[in-house]
Symmetry: C2
Subunit: 355 residues, 2 copies
Amino acid sequence: MRGSDSQAAPMPATAIPHVFSRYRSDIRAGLKAAFPDSTAPLYDMLRYHLGWQDEQGRAADANVGKEVRPALCLFACEAVGGTKEQALPPAVAIELIHNFSLIHDDIQDGDTERRHRKTVWYIWGQSHGINAGDAMHALGNLALLDTNPGALPPQRRLEISRILTRASLEMIEGQVLDLTFERRPSVRVDDYLTMIDKKTGALLEASLHMGAVAAAADPSTVEAMRLFGKGLGLLFQVRDDMLGVWGAQDKTGKPAAGDIHRRKKSLPIVYALAHAEGASRDRMLAIYRSDRPLQEGDVHDVLAVLDEVRAAAYCTGLAREHAERSMATLAPVHLSAAARAEFADLVQFLMDREH
Amino acid sequence: MRGSDSQAAPMPATAIPHVFSRYRSDIRAGLKAAFPDSTAPLYDMLRYHLGWQDEQGRAADANVGKEVRPALCLFACEAVGGTKEQALPPAVAIELIHNFSLIHDDIQDGDTERRHRKTVWYIWGQSHGINAGDAMHALGNLALLDTNPGALPPQRRLEISRILTRASLEMIEGQVLDLTFERRPSVRVDDYLTMIDKKTGALLEASLHMGAVAAAADPSTVEAMRLFGKGLGLLFQVRDDMLGVWGAQDKTGKPAAGDIHRRKKSLPIVYALAHAEGASRDRMLAIYRSDRPLQEGDVHDVLAVLDEVRAAAYCTGLAREHAERSMATLAPVHLSAAARAEFADLVQFLMDREH
């Protein structure tokens, strides 16, 4: 199937940028410190979700998220002259907020597994899944409010809380749009981009924005980092959507063409539904309006239509456009040569990543 | 059935204290101002839940909550020398947080109606119900962070945010305990009281606590108001539990003995399960361990056991004890005679209310 996709973008092996590993131990320590020292069953669910405990409450160290958002927050803060200590409270907070959204998403999507582990709701039931997400949401806010007062003065901490809370709300707006779109026969490409700008983009934008505010950077630097983060969010999601269709199973750990099998209206599909004509359009609509499980032949046909409308080239072009715009945003910002190179690596990685 | 309950506390008609109506228009205006000027479908769900819109999005003015928490926050602030302007941000915030919990509770309990209107999840589905609650949660936090900077300096606003967020987390801990208890054959009275202290008490405590902090009251006054609020929370819930068993349908608007029909393990039942002996105990356990719908005979038997163990007297005594302790907490606080009388009325009302 993958072979028939003559048009998909090349996917070179790309090294994971150092920013995603450099802060790992700080982030882990910060996350653990954000947890109350409580044996209440609520916190067992949260620790399980974060990979620190197994289902029975025994200590574990499961492979969990890439911690992209806190790493970007810390990196942005240091790049514009701040310290790790300043950015750690918002970094921890945004990782917890991201995880609150994952716990609730899993309920909404009916997903029983996340990264090869059972989801919280699947183990403890939907009601406790709702509670676990709610608690992670509150803990995220608290991580920012409740920490040592040294690193961030009150006014700055308040400003960061405002950014985080507005971003959380925007993410939820995006989630509502996403669920609404899944039930519609077709979605405009622009509406889809607005949705991912909120659902994925809001927290990535906030990560870099908060990092710059934590560093007390000047207003034009703060604004540049915010816009750069916004661009990263789009890049990140466009690539995610491409991998869901054209990604290799041995790289992504997910079934090939998984998003087609799930009839997910991701960017390539939304684009094809808008641009296919004649028999191809009829075939796409028939497949996406039906309820019966997709057959291999259907998946093959969808991939063929994506080829026909050059959906991969469209996605790659859109990603490249945003990558260039993001780098241009950074041009006037005062950065060390090393930091600027790392930002460029980051953008390149998000464009090319295979998992 | 009500007639057979020879032992239930007398329920005199009690006037609703003025504190619950005095601030109504301020609270409504504050709540409306906390909403973004957005036509996104998400906000239609929230406005519906608050009674401002009907299902179709047309303006409405439905009978919604009593707005107890914001009224107490405003009252506490003024009573200790603050202004309405200072307390309005936390008052609005806590009402939104309370409503987030109601939206999620309705999903968890499978309730299809709240105050004679369909619940959010019942109209829009569970997934959107989860989103609506999440958004109300974020909006509540934002109401405190995002308002005009005049009334509260940053340090105080941060301190109030911390109180609110800790209380939200405690409320969620209580909700987890409540759901856990519902699945257990029996619950210790002390564990039940811990649960309501969190589930109901945390936000009521925070209402008065935040009001006093908003007024920049001295630490001993702040602590007294916090403890008073904690006592009110227990009073409020104990009376709620009594009304769910012995309340009159024409007063509460809910079916008589509704909590018995629903097998809700509220305080009278928890107490009876712990104190009944012999055949009465066996009968209670048989009824509360079974899954089949309760018959009138079962309800009659439960009420008879409650009489036998003097459950109503226990509840009334517990409420009275906390009422007295709450009033004693206020004794050293500097209050006008009028304010002190209003606090006393409030406690009396919460003890005696019939709806």
